[in-house]
Symmetry: C2
Subunit: 208 residues, 2 copies
Amino acid sequence: MLEPFKHILQTQRIVLASGSPRRKEVLNNIGLNFEVVPSTYEENLDPANYPNPADFVIDTAAHKVEEVFERLNKDPVKPNFIIGADTVVVFENEIYGKPKSEEHAFEMLRKFCGKSQFVYTGIVLKTQRDTVKFFEKSEVEFGELTDEMIKAYVNTGEPMDKAGGYGIQSIGGTLVKSVRGDYFNIVGFPVYHFCKQLVDLLQKNQND
Amino acid sequence: MLEPFKHILQTQRIVLASGSPRRKEVLNNIGLNFEVVPSTYEENLDPANYPNPADFVIDTAAHKVEEVFERLNKDPVKPNFIIGADTVVVFENEIYGKPKSEEHAFEMLRKFCGKSQFVYTGIVLKTQRDTVKFFEKSEVEFGELTDEMIKAYVNTGEPMDKAGGYGIQSIGGTLVKSVRGDYFNIVGFPVYHFCKQLVDLLQKNQND
């Protein structure tokens, strides 16, 4: 979707304000040129203060973006686009972030078995003039798994740095029976919705 | 899902009878150890001779597996598992394979815009004693795209070697609004269903 705008995008300083290697990979795969400047914002917002998970992930993403924006705006070449993202898993009205221990990962994954959870990613896309905020929601249905399978998966070490305790793009893909929505949102970055918004901003700038 | 069986799988000769780099990558990502021996079977079956796309992809996959099975069974160490796969895209009751030209790719992708197509992959898993055949069906909803976007995507060269003319795991991911089912089936290999069947065969062998 971005190919017709390649000549403009190549002149822009685009910054991903996230240290997630999965988000970086997703954006690399679609051919975007960007730099990675992880935010130093301490993620300490309380989901209980938000009416729904969407508002929570958007607000966390916004704080990440603002911190990086303030920092990089002191550079000789200011950024044109700063991208922030935050992802959580919601299961039976409870928010699940990264597991705190291997036991915690096992518990989480065991609850998910044979059922659906929902992955929410909040995205904030900031330019020098505009700030666009949105979220994407995708459904993930886990298969029926034995305790032995879950334990062996936790032992791979894969769950520990991932919201919900699994990585769908790696070994965790074998646990997932079905998805519904944007797959890349489950990896941590909603590609389609993001490209749409980016194209809208580029067209708006062209018309100004 | 396969981790509890790692010690058995490591002793097996597992062969992927497909030259598709996407299938190889999907199987690598889930940690399976296998070798790639592309089938030399000439894919010349006529979909019109089959009552539905599922039977067609399963039969094509079966022919690929049989050719490789015959060939490798002359080796000193016979294969334990041979995996065959075939993928097509079905849109409004018509089967779409790989595009024949860039114009063909453009036409296909333009038809898909704003609508859903269905990806069918047939899998045949053959051991020295058993042959398991199944298929997986996933839905892909394309976004609304301009002709300029489609043309620019075709110009990347990505569509030409892919059923349906797009690669969801790369730049083609920006064209897809939503999926439903096993995402990896759209890439060309239905991970969840395959792992289930492989585990069943391993357990059957253990109990014999």
